[in-house]
Symmetry: C2
Subunit: 314 residues, 2 copies
């Protein structure tokens, strides 16, 4: 489909009736044993072995969640940790997820100056045509520290390709305030970043009032999340920190408009490795890890729905 | 050799008698024709073709500069632009450069929260043992926006492995001041970052007064560079912006101590594609691109030496 990222996101969010975003964060020491066994039998090189295990795990996970959610978010670090073999798996996982009808946000938190930023944008942002870039993602997370002129090349490529961006504004980690909360001209740095992102977003093509230029705003600071929603009316949010990091559905409710649009709420560990969590462990054995993923995704969707109803499409 | 990053860097800087750092930033449209021709003859897949051309170009470039400089800095974006094939070439280029006795700083500007930062550190930081990580770099550039707690996992892994870090403090791009120059508590944000980096550095193992925890400080803001040198006495600098971006050897002189240590000055385009520059074009034809690289590197070393003599080892 040829369209803007935000139009595709809004459509899929309404079709699936949820803003749940599933992180694809494979960790070798938490993989189901059957997958590890098979990978070990087929590969002697340790990086190739892990990469093969990740590929099978992620593809089967995608098969489970594809009918349920609009989008997935692979975290680049967990793939790059295993070298070029891991990077190749990241690429295959992105392409497989898109084939299953999911939007893919590559969580790479990239940035650099001028033409280097353009190279990153060309690498990751495929947008409406999955073949437009080698990695093939619909959207990419980017870091603003180097300045607005380093965001512009990403915005230009995203616009050309119908791709999306999520700029780090207020992150979910305990120490995120160290620099983000420093006050300049009467407001914290993250609000300066927010103002810049809103300025870019308000000039871009909108769908349901939102642009394809988004912001990362953590669930772990609900008061700031609420204030940022007001300050960035045209900016779709990517909200990490729900679940394992402590954010609740009540904490993230303010990210949404009355139609249930305006944000994606991410859960990674809580879904990927649900079969290891006490609440699912009793019901699902280790060989039923996909059933645990399925149940954990449904439970997240239900939990979010108590605060954020998404209207049916049309 | 088992040692800290900074000990290896100081030793090589003194041996080579220069702080020149050669960026490895291949761009397909600027490659010598002979390399492109050969790659096209051998590869039908466009990404594989470019990756093969990059690999040959970078390896031959490394052969030229290895006897002359202490370190090289591949820019990850230019490799990732060509997908997994490009990432594989990045890995091979890093490993080849180390085999030729060079230190390798991977310019990835990575960062993320907690365990994700650890994954990036495990991926890129090999330190004193090139086989300790799949990508195998001596050092990595990292972005501080997410807070000091996201730098700590990198510092921990760097310490364990004898690897180095360069934290973005004041970048060389025209718009770097947009957030970095905002004033909080009477000083710009980049000085808050600088204070944090100096605090980490002063607690780390030192060599010639410097730690393995460095800072990226652009050559294009010489007054700020000079002030930051005073504020970060234990922090080795990685200085981009010399040459093509406009910084001169006089601009970067304040980064060094009287022994010529304390900084690496990077040049990428000016050396990689010297054969396309008017000053070298007349003397060296397109088939003499390696001679142009050689001459441009010698010229940079001479230029830096006018302001920053490096004492001979011992």
């Amino acid at each position: 489909m040829s369209s803007t990222y935000i139009a595709r996101l809004n459509q899929l969010t309404q079709q699936k009736k949820t803003a749940a975003l599933v992180g694809l964060d494979p960790r070798f020491d938490q993989l189901p044993e059957e997958i590890v066994k098979k990978a070990k039998a087929n590969h002697s090189d340790p990086n190739e072995m892990v990469a093969a295990a990740f590929e099978e795990f992620c593809k089967r996970l995608i098969d489970v969640v594809a009918p349920l959610v609009p989008a997935v978010k692979p975290q680049a670090a967990f793939y790059e940790e295993w070298g070029p073999a891991g990077s190749r798996t990241l690429c295959r996982v992105i392409q497989y997820a898109r084939k299953q009808g999911l939007l893919v946000i590559c969580d790479g938190k990239r940035n650099d100056i001028g033409s280097t930023a353009t190279a990153y944008a060309h690498a990751y942002l495929a947008g409406s045509d999955p073949e437009a870039s080698p990695w093939g993602a619909d959207a990419l997370t980017v870091n603003p520290y180097m300045g607005s002129d380093t965001l512009e090349p990403f915005i230009k490529v995203a616009k050309e390709r119908g791709a999306g961006l999520y700029v780090l504004v207020r992150t979910s980690n305990p120490g995120s305030g160290r620099f983000q909360n420093l006050e300049a001209d009467g407001k914290p740095i993250y609000e300066h970043v927010a103002a810049e992102v809103e300025a870019f977003a308000s000039q871009a093509e909108l769908s349901e009032g939102y642009s394809s230029i988004g912001a990362v705003v953590g669930a772990t600071y609900p008061a700031e999340l609420e204030a940022l929603r007001t300050q960035m009316p045209h900016v779709p949010f990517l909200v990490p920190g729900y679940g394992s990091q402590g954010g609740t559905s009540a904490d993230v409710a303010s990210a949404f408009d009355t139609g249930g649009l305006g944000a994606l709420i991410n859960s990674s560990r809580g879904i990927n490795f649900a079969y290891n969590k006490p609440v699912y462990q009793e019901k699902f054995g280790p060989d039923q890890w996909e059933e645990a993923v399925h149940q954990a995704t449904l439970d997240m969707i239900d939990d979010l729905a108590t605060h954020t109803p998404v209207k049916a499409l049309g």
